[in-house]
């Protein structure tokens, strides 16, 4: 494998549909072994970007380099380095799983000798061994999705592009597909698009948030977690305490009563008052029964980033 710093690099991608700008000047890159999450609400331009990366749609402007090969100049060579699973998995429902995968192996120019191994590998890695002789049309949606993933990894591509791989599945299937994606990520770089925040949290090393065709946020998952870090604690006591008493504790900016003996206190991000609260309640014998940092849900963070950008 040539030593390019980035396996996939997109520079200044733009794409219009009529007067609508679907994707506007989007640039990003992915390194070896990385899982990049593409996050955004529906209609934000995720699928359009994925289609451009896989060569299904030509960008109006910009450049896509895969393994250092320009996708627009040498499409065949560049496409050999990517595996793509569109939103609707492209499957021939009248074929059996192994027939279909054998066709995909041939389509991806896998030499005859390695074809059987490649098909067997893909079947095994995607957990399709039990259904390999069944017709694809008869399989459940979760299994069809697995066949779609198998199709994308059969030629051992450097980068696997998955467009909303868990949409339309039931919770158990979602969990299984996520597990599968995590296993795939051990051997390939993965670009994953989704509108589900926890999915990004579970699977990705880096996140990009896209909205209305523009990239709003590119950073590691840790930074996203910092966004999620809240500056509030939830407290519950067995005894009656006034809001003023809590306010008197160091670093607490504001406190409010939520229920009978439950309070929410906010503090400045760098000054965690937990220790102060603990020692104070010991001294005052306040019978503390609950102390919990309040965490923002990913949804809150998402909205926050969107708001900040506007």
């Amino acid at each position: 494998m040539p030593d390019h710093p980035f396996l996939l690099e997109a520079k200044g991608l733009s794409r219009h549909f009529g007067n609508n700008i679907a994707v506007n000047d989007v640039s990003f890159s992915i390194k070896q072994g990385e899982v990049l999450g593409f996050l955004g609400p529906n209609g934000a331009g995720k699928s359009t970007t994925m289609k451009m990366l896989s060569g299904n749609l030509a960008p109006d402007k910009g450049q896509i380099l895969i393994n250092g090969i320009d996708l627009l100049d040498k499409p065949a060579e560049a496409k050999a380095c990517i595996g793509y699973l569109p939103e609707t998995p492209p499957l021939y429902k009248e074929q059996t799983v192994s027939e279909f995968l054998r066709f995909c192996a041939k389509l991806n120019n896998i030499p005859k000798k390695q074809r059987i191994t490649a098909v067997d590998n893909a079947i095994e890695r995607c957990g399709l061994s039990d259904v390999s002789q069944r017709l694809i049309g008869h399989l459940s949606k979760g299994f069809q999705q697995r066949v779609g993933i198998a199709q994308a990894i059969i030629h051992e591509p450097a980068v696997v592009i998955l467009d909303e791989p868990t949409s339309g599945l039931d919770p158990i299937q979602i969990r299984e597909i996520r597990q599968l994606i995590r296993e795939i990520a051990n051997q390939h770089s993965v670009i994953l698009s989704t509108h589900i925040l926890p999915e990004v949290d579970m699977l990705c090393d880096r996140v990009q948030i896209i909205s209305e065709g523009q990239l709003l946020f590119i950073d590691t998952i840790e930074t996203l977690h910092e966004y999620m870090q809240s500056s509030a604690l939830l407290l519950r006591f067995d005894t009656e305490i006034s809001v003023q008493q809590l306010n008197a504790i160091d670093h607490i900016l504001q406190s409010e009563r939520l229920a009978d003996n439950t309070y929410r206190v906010t503090f400045a991000p760098q000054h965690d008052p937990t220790q102060a609260i603990l020692s104070k309640s010991l001294v005052e014998q306040w019978q503390l029964t609950m102390l919990m940092p309040e965490k923002h849900s990913m949804e809150d963070v998402f909205m926050k980033i969107l708001r900040e950008e506007r």
Binding site: K51, G55, P75, A80, Y84, P90, L91, Y92, Q95
Partner: protein, 247 residues
């Protein structure tokens, strides 16, 4: 390229469509074959007296090949609508487009796949024609010229059907429009009243170029016409699919 045609053919035979088409067209052709045979038997007595009268090849084999051409015209839209329009509707095209294979190979692959199916049908018709040799003898060169004509005709049908299939998303729309265009090209020379006259309309007619070959005349003009049709529509289809990435 061959991978695609193989897959195309395999999927065709996995569906009942291919078998039903083959079975029913065989049934129709067998009936027509017997009708021609009957006709020949009725005329045989009178004709034996006339020197240079038409023989079995002219009266049975060649009409049967013409009939096959007509039946293929009816079948083509049903087959070609599957090639691109139905794949597009099922959102299967990205599989082919994101594979490291160029568009022209995809199109030619699909064309070869469809043509191979028709070759099966033609071979089965020829077997019927050959059964005549059990009781009589055939003019093999004329059969050969007719068969070549039929292959070229069917290839033109397929390529026109595939092009129209690449234009639409709904398979039925693709099928109806291919049928309309093929039928138009079949009958377009009815407008020219004088059969010997050479006009633009008669030049466009598929039938007008097919008929001489069935009669045993191999004109380079006719062969060129079919080849032009095949190349032109293949190019149009490739361009159409290539442009799809742009809009």
């Amino acid at each position: 390229m061959l991978t695609i045609s193989q897959n195309e053919l395999q999927r065709l035979f996995l569906s009942p469509l291919a078998w039903i088409i083959l079975a029913l067209s065989q049934l129709l052709l067998a009936y027509l074959f017997l009708t021609h045979m009957d006709y020949f038997n009725a005329l045989q007595g009178k004709m034996s007296a006339i020197p240079g009268a038409p023989g079995v090849t002219e009266l049975i084999a060649m009409p049967l090949l013409s009939n096959t051409g007509m039946i293929c015209l009816l079948i083509t839209p049903l087959l070609t609508m599957r090639t691109i329009a139905e794949e597009r509707r099922n959102e299967n095209l990205p599989l082919l487009i994101s594979a490291p294979i160029s568009i022209y190979k995809i199109v030619i692959g699909k064309f070869i796949g469809t043509l191979s199916f028709f070759l099966c049908l033609i071979v089965m018709t020829l077997l019927m024609v050959m059964s005549i040799t059990l009781g009589s003898s055939l003019d093999w060169l004329q059969v050969l010229s007719g068969t070549l004509g039929l292959v070229l005709l069917v290839a033109s049908f397929s390529v026109i059907g595939i092009y129209l299939s690449s234009l639409f998303k709904q398979p039925t729309v693709a099928a109806i429009s291919s049928f309309a265009l093929l039928f138009l090209l079949w009958i377009i020379d009815w407008a020219s009243t004088n059969a010997a006259e050479f006009t633009l309309l008669s030049w466009l007619s598929l039938l007008r170029h097919f008929q001489p070959m069935v009669q045993g005349q191999m004109n380079s003009q006719d062969v060129a016409y079919f080849l032009i049709i095949i190349f032109a529509f293949l190019l149009l289809t490739i361009r159409r699919l290539d442009r799809e990435r742009l809009d």
